[in-house]
């Protein structure tokens, strides 16, 4: 599996935010996107995830034989943005159960996924009762309940304490070892062997 980004350009409200971004990632590789605030990290990630129309360039996903995957690249991605994408009125179990069924391709069970993020005891609590860091960990558990070959995570460790950040790093390592492709906008070194970095400079 290979994710190829060629000459990616993205604009918002008619203004170019990023231009000519190119990189290639193979199965098991990770890309760390860095850059100062407002340089276009999130925009780039959303562009790759298919959430923003591209103003130039292309995003292609090839399988081992060099053939293009069926459908859009976004269908193979998990995206974790700044918001958690969980409903405060539902319990943790109901939230994760919905995303597992809606995304399909079930991987870990909800109990196992919560065990991974060390939150097994909150399974029947309403999501709104959790602290900011715990909410973040539940949304990390969302990445585990459905199987997707690509993870696109934007500031995944925002609000997490040192121990939880370590836990997330471990999850990323396991994911990449299993042949996943990871794109992360983070300042945290993830300690993955095949780690590439991309620094985005603000266009001014």
């Amino acid at each position: 599996m290979k994710l190829i980004i060629e000459n990616l350009s993205l604009s918002r409200a008619g203004q170019e935010i990023v231009t000519d971004i190119s990189f290639e990632l193979s199965a098991g590789e990770a890309l760390i996107v860095t850059g100062e605030n407002g340089s276009g990290k999130s925009t780039t990630l959303r562009g790759v995830a298919g959430l923003l129309p591209l103003s130039g360039g292309s995003v292609t996903l090839l399988d081992e034989t060099g053939k293009q995957f069926e459908g859009e690249t976004r269908e193979y991605c998990h995206y974790l943005g700044h918001q958690n994408g969980m409903k405060p009125a539902l319990t943790v179990r109901e939230n994760l159960d919905f995303w597992q069924k809606f995304c399909g391709e079930p991987d870990l069970t909800i109990e196992q996924a919560l065990e991974e993020v060390d939150l097994a005891h909150t399974i029947d609590l309403p999501f709104s009762y959790l602290s900011a860091g715990m909410k973040r960990r539940v949304s990390i558990a969302r990445l585990l309940v459905s199987d997707r070959p690509i993870w696109i995570v934007d500031e995944p460790t925002a609000g997490l304490d040192a121990q939880s950040s370590k836990m997330f790093t471990n999850l990323c390592q396991t994911f990449c070892k299993g042949g996943g492709i990871l794109i992360a906008a983070t300042h945290l070194p993830l300690g993955i062997k095949t780690e590439k970095t991309l620094e985005i400079k603000a266009l001014r």
Partner: protein, 219 residues
């Protein structure tokens, strides 16, 4: 998709009971009419179909502004849009859930409010059937309005302004069908079939239009 339907229904039960809000609003609209019209029961029963339809129409608009705006605020919209399911189908299910939790309770509350307006049993039956056939169209057209105003912090007013002109045909044929059932020379079947046709038509076109809108309003 059943998971989405289940979640939507669960959410509207948990988050303050939107079903009950709709019925209460319906009650408020319907119950002010007798005060305004006066104690003329004959006039009131003549106006009842129109009053019930207007009340149902306004009550159905409740909660439409939250249909996508809330998903966008908590980040769920990104994931809803990214999946391999057709986006129009996702929107169809969300609109259907909106109807089940706001439109359907209105249909069930109609007999009670019909009695308040001195409507005959036949009239109540006809009103229920036309509301059952017609109110889904309001949710489907409303989904387009909700998609257009997804980025606006106070989209509720805009949705009403956008959606009301489009649902006027449903109102016209709905009330015409009830009148047809109550008064002899006027037909019931023809306007009722028009209501059904509009609902079927909008159930396809509404979600499609809303999905195009949501894809283009990405930010």
């Amino acid at each position: 998709m059943t998971a989405l339907l289940k979640r939507e229904i669960l959410l509207s039960i948990r988050a303050g009971g939107s079903a009950l809000t709709g019925v209460l609003f319906f009650l408020a609209v319907v119950s002010v009419f007798p005060f305004a019209v006066g104690p003329d029961t004959k006039l009131l029963s003549h106006l009842a179909p129109a009053i019930l339809w207007i009340g149902a129409l306004l009550a159905s608009l409740l909660g439409l502004d939250r249909l996508f705006a809330q998903e966008r605020e908590d980040g769920s919209l990104d994931m809803l849009v990214m999946q391999s399911h057709p986006l129009a189908l996702t929107i169809f299910v969300k609109a259907l859930a909106h109807w089940i939790m706001t439109g359907l309770p209105l249909v069930l509350a109609t007999p009670l409010f019909g009695v308040m307006l001195n409507l005959s049993p036949l009239g109540i039956g006809a009103t229920m059937i036309t509301l059952l056939a017609g109110t889904p169209a309001i949710s489907f057209i409303g989904a387009v309005g909700a998609a257009v105003s997804v980025k606006l912090p106070r989209g509720g007013m805009l949705i009403s302004v956008l959606v009301l002109p489009l649902v006027i045909p449903v109102l016209i044929f709905g009330v015409a069908a009830i009148t047809g059932a109550l008064e002899d020379p006027a037909p019931f079947t023809a306007p009722f079939l028009f209501v059904c046709a509009i609902t079927l038509f909008t159930s396809v076109l509404g979600p499609l239009a809303a999905s195009i809108m949501l894809r283009h309003s990405a930010d």
